[in-house]
Subunit: 268 residues, 2 copies
């Protein structure tokens, strides 16, 4: 039932296995000259076996939009790329991992910042959490697509996001969960501008095609739902789609469960 998005069953009870909260969590922030250098740093973190709690990125355009709001001086006024990693665990473990992160991320960085003050850390994450709203405010409207690609194609996907935006005459940017190869590829437009939403929709189709071409998926974490209904046909063979529909019919012959989601067409 995992991934069925409520189209097959209703959860009536669940057991949760809770993970103890870490004693300490320390962010390490690094800026890079460009996408290639930043994505290489992301790969270094994972190739070194550093078990980070977060490994985020922002591209240059996202940073330009969010820079005004940045909570402290980074030492690089116009970064080409930013990686934000977090080390957590016991206090000693988090400190040791943060030091290793600083070493591995710092190799090719234009600036590095590893705050340890609780207030500064809180301000940093609040800044990160505002990204989507700040980006949306730039032109007043945005379309964000949650695509995911294999990690070794991340740099390509980030660059292609800008190219796709440009091809449709749209400002574009991306940020996301670099460690998972998960991009929030975003198209920016003024809601009142004639044809802008249609161009953004067309660009989104190109983003889905990009994700599939790079061996990824049209949804990294947000699912298919209503917004991406029918899009599974891009990445699945017809036989897999037919099986999907058969399973839906077996579980829900009357189409009562979350109807109209995931698969194309109104009925199921």
């Amino acid at each position: 039932l995992i991934g069925s998005e409520g189209t097959l069953a209703v959860i009536t009870a669940a057991w949760l296995r809770l993970v103890p909260a870490p004693e300490l969590a320390l962010p390490v922030l690094a800026s890079y000259a460009d996408v290639a250098a930043g994505c290489a740093a992301v790969q270094r973190v994972l190739a070194n076996g550093l078990a980070v709690a977060a490994l985020e990125y922002m591209d240059a355009r996202t940073l330009a939009l969010c820079a005004r709001d940045f909570p402290f001086a980074l030492g690089d006024d116009a970064p080409g790329f930013m990686v934000l990693a977090e080390a957590d665990g016991s206090a000693s473990e988090a400190r040791a991992l943060a030091a290793e992160l600083a070493r591995v991320l710092g190799e090719d960085a234009t600036a590095l910042h590893a705050p340890t003050d609780r207030r500064e850390i809180g301000a940093l994450w609040r800044w990160r959490e505002r990204t989507s709203l700040v980006v949306a405010a730039a032109h007043g409207g945005k379309l964000s697509e949650d695509i995911v690609v294999p990690l070794d194609r991340l740099a390509e996907a980030i660059t292609a996001t800008l190219e796709i935006g440009a091809a449709h005459g749209l400002d574009a940017c991306s940020w996301g969960h670099a460690g998972d190869g998960n991009l929030h590829s975003t198209l920016l437009f003024a809601p009142g501008e004639a044809g802008a939403l249609e161009r953004a929709d067309a660009a989104a189709e190109d983003l889905f095609a990009l994700a599939v071409r790079l061996g990824g998926s049209i949804s990294g974490e947000h699912g298919i739902g209503y917004a991406k209904r029918g899009q599974l046909a891009r990445q699945w063979a017809p036989g897999a789609l037919a099986l999907h529909a058969q399973i839906k019919r077996a579980f829900d012959p009357k189409n009562l469960l979350n109807p109209g989601k995931k698969l194309a067409g109104g009925a199921r």
Copy 2:
């Protein structure tokens, strides 16, 4: 496809996300007077949020069979129950966690041993890994069932395993992955003894009923396969079984994939 045991599809390619090997792994071994004290210790470990890499148990009968072979002096000649936990991570993390484990497991223990010598640790795990063979050698034959119960019913399941054995005139014991509530409930018999295998089979049926009665499952980790085909009817409603069969038909209408496994009956 998770849990389908090869009855729905064939895996042709897989991506593995590897977890770095821990720098150090330290076992902590504790003996208890009885099942209740031992299971309380297991619950204490988890309730204290100690993220152990292993949390195993052996009951008194298993220990009696394996004692001759024990690799070092434990300080308790006839333990009523034994818990074997492992702390891993970086060297400092493993040491800190092992010390916490020793404190939490030690509270009510009759003996405690936390080897740090690499050779001694290796000997301990080899001893643990021989359990199944040593137990099988006691009478020459055994039937082990891999049941699982909610952790707060573990003590009940361990005690009931002995009662079920006795009711069928069989020597019985159990050991397993206490942290998951997973028992290897085992019935021992001499292969040549008239009716022994039949009695063991009947006792195994009682073990499955026990697991379901305690809110658990007939298989903790080894799956249904051929040996437990048809047994899902014990724990699933008829509607769930019918859905299971429908899904099998959708994926494999010609019944080519691992036929005769999981569901009852030869055909599917």
